[in-house]
């Protein structure tokens, strides 16, 4: 019997400060045991439990992409007991990763469709994973147009900024970066994400799906915009968060109605969410 | 604390001004002497979990 509570041992291979206020760091992990990386096969949109002995576990979206090999990457906001400890760890430290957990963005349905991604703040992690996956030469043909609206408070709060700028130069993806207020040397949009989405977003039709991931306030203002653009509730895909412990649907706390965010989610369509109590 | 079963004298209170160095030394000596005489309080040490989790509640 495979014990789903035992994490794969990993070593921290790289730590990068991800935002100017140092509240987010990006960690790259390599697996200690041969074969574990294959067992950890994941899809963009899934999450994992970062497991620190003596401190506990924390569910974090996987920021690396299935097409990137040799490591897994997570960008972590310093908030509670486990993440604060993680922020103080060093390259070379040993810890555990348990996963991949949860479902993923519905790649089988998304194939052949136009994709509109709206991200905000530090919830861009699994969206990065998705973009890297779609832009991979082996996959790019499977999707139609790709539009990305990504907003943060300031330029320095945008995650993966170098990559964002690289993507901006490509012609097979439309990047719409935005910050809340004017800043020097900023050549992109200024304004709240949902407002920019309304201006630049592709119209919703059968062939276009929207994926939104961000703080609750952004989601709140994004949904009416998407509706206005013509997206139906089945074509709006959201990724939810709740307090989790086991990550495998057993410990019982993360449910919204009969769905468990850790196992039946975290990815839900708006149509699905509308069927459940909003307990997230 | 005494009521819950901590020995009298294990907890002591003193009021010492920063100028009263002699009193401070005397009190510290006195306290260490009494506590040493009492020996370690095992009751306060949390036993490792393996020993305390009974197999059937």
């Amino acid at each position: 019997m495979i014990n789903p509570y035992v994490p794969y041992p990993v070593r921290i291979d790289d730590i990068q400060i991800a935002t100017e206020d140092k509240s987010l760091k990006t960690f790259k992990f390599v697996f200690l045991n041969e074969g574990d990386e294959e067992k950890f096969a994941y899809k963009a949109g899934q999450f994992a439990e970062l497991s620190i002995p003596g401190k506990g576990e924390i569910p974090i979206g996987i920021a690396s992409s299935p097409v990137e090999k040799g490591f897994v990457m997570f960008t972590v906001f310093k908030a509670g007991v486990v993440t604060s400890h993680l922020h103080n760890m060093k390259v070379g430290d040993i810890m555990g990763i348990r996963g991949p957990l949860g479902n993923w963005y519905p790649w089988d349905i998304l194939e052949g469709k136009n994709i509109f991604i709206i991200g905000g703040g530090f919830a861009f992690t699994t969206l990065r994973s998705s973009i890297v996956y779609m832009l991979d030469p082996a996959n790019r043909d499977k999707f139609g147009t790709i539009d990305v609206v990504y907003g943060a408070r300031t330029p320095g709060m945008l995650l993966y900024k170098d990559e964002l700028i690289e993507w901006g130069k490509r012609d097979d993806i439309n990047m719409h970066l935005t910050i809340d207020r004017e800043a020097p040397d900023w050549d992109y949009h200024v304004g709240m994400g949902p407002n920019i989405a309304e201006k630049v977003g592709p119209k919703g039709d059968e062939k276009t799906f929207a994926i939104a991931c961000g703080p609750p306030i952004m989601i709140k203002f994004t949904l009416p915009v998407l509706e206005k653009l013509g997206y139906s509730n089945d074509q709006i895909i959201l990724s939810l968060e709740n307090r989790m412990k086991c990550g495998i649907g057993m410990c019982g706390r993360c449910n919204i109605g009969k769905e468990l965010v850790c196992k039946d989610g975290p990815v839900f369509t708006l149509a699905e969410i509308n069927q459940t109590p909003r307990e997230y | 604390m005494e009521h819950m079963g901590v020995e009298p004298d294990r907890i002591q209170f003193s009021w010492i001004s920063s100028a009263e160095s002699t009193k401070f030394v005397n009190v510290v000596n006195e306290v260490t002497k009494t506590i040493k005489a009492l020996g370690p309080n095992k009751n306060f040490v949390k036993r490792p979990v393996e020993e305390t989790v009974s197999k059937v509640a």
Partner: protein, 315 residues
């Protein structure tokens, strides 16, 4: 009892009709013998389910914490003292409240009565200080005074200390009760025996926190046992952690506890939780001549300093 109930209903109806309050907090009949459920009434129809008898042991002051409405509340002696404490500690405003005082002759001890019989009790009625207990194959009448909750048996504040309406004439207060015999018994023990007494007491604790949650004093937004940064107390069944919880909780109630017995009544495992709080209650009385919740004018001993406060413990 019927006069009490009618009077409670009458006052409640008047308060709601005159729009003096938004809701009334009281008791309704429970689904089991010797159980009543705290409830609220927002209209005269709801009021019809109000009851009063010797099974209203839950402390209703617990239901006032941080409420914003204007509330009418049914209060026996101990409830009223906890209401006073709530007012002193800014958990509710005096002018939000209309207190319907109920002079009380004590609540009966459900667990004690259940333990007196081998099979299940199906019906309990009371009349004129007699409690009639019926079950499969038995039918017995008990003196109410003999089956009171332990804290009620030694209560010296049966009448509400603060009220706007009173449902009946004040009852006679008990005199010459020995309130602290149990505490003295423990005080006389050796440290080892004390430790063992409390260890045995807590053996069956499942850490459901019913005692804490039933207590009107335990309203902290985050209880110390629930803190994660730092985590003061472990969460398992470890005896050290369980003990830490109970003793620290008792300390937090020092000078505030009215010995209402809600903790004991709530405990599903029948633990005498009062054994922890009682010592502090006794100390407050003996050292500071203080009994909690008697007046909204006076500050409790632990947040005031008087030059004459006892300080023999300081060397």
């Amino acid at each position: 009892m019927l006069e009490y109930i009618n009077k409670i209903k009458e006052i409640s109806t008047k308060l709601l009709e005159e729009k003096k309050v938004d809701m009334i907090v009281g008791f309704r009949k429970g689904s089991l013998p010797m159980m009543n459920e705290p409830c609220f009434a927002k209209n005269t129809e709801d009021i019809q389910s109000f009851v009063w008898d010797s099974n209203c042991g839950i402390n209703l002051a617990n239901y006032l914490t941080n409420r914003k409405e204007k509330i009418g509340i049914v209060a026996k002696g101990c409830d009223s003292r906890n209401i006073v404490t709530h007012i002193i500690e800014n958990k509710i405003n005096r002018d939000q409240l209309t207190i319907i005082g109920v002079p009380c002759k004590g609540m009966i001890d459900r667990k004690m009565i259940s333990d007196m019989f081998d099979s299940e009790i199906t019906e309990v009625t009371e009349n004129n200080g007699k409690i009639t207990v019926k079950g499969n194959g038995f039918d017995k009448t008990l003196e109410k005074t003999e089956v009171l909750q332990e804290n009620c048996a030694i209560c010296i504040h049966r009448n509400p200390v603060i009220y706007d309406e009173l449902v009946a004439k004040e009852v006679e207060e008990q005199k010459d009760v020995d309130r602290y015999e149990d505490v003295r018994n423990i005080e006389a023990m050796s440290p080892e025996d004390k430790w063992k007494t409390f260890d045995d007491l807590l053996k069956t604790c499942i850490r459901c926190y019913a005692c804490r949650n039933a207590c009107p004093l335990c309203y902290c937004p985050t209880c110390f046992v629930d803190e994660a940064k730092p985590q003061w107390v472990g969460k398992s069944q470890d005896p050290t952690d369980t003990r830490t919880f109970h003793f620290l909780r008792a300390f937090h109630c020092a000078g505030r506890c009215t010995d209402c017995g809600a903790c004991v009544r709530a405990c599903p495992m029948g633990i005498n939780v009062r054994a922890f709080t009682k010592k502090l209650e006794k100390d407050c009385f003996e050292l500071f001549n203080w009994e909690a919740g008697l007046s909204i004018e006076e500050r409790p001993p632990l947040d005031t300093f008087k030059p004459g406060d006892p300080d023999e413990f300081i060397k």
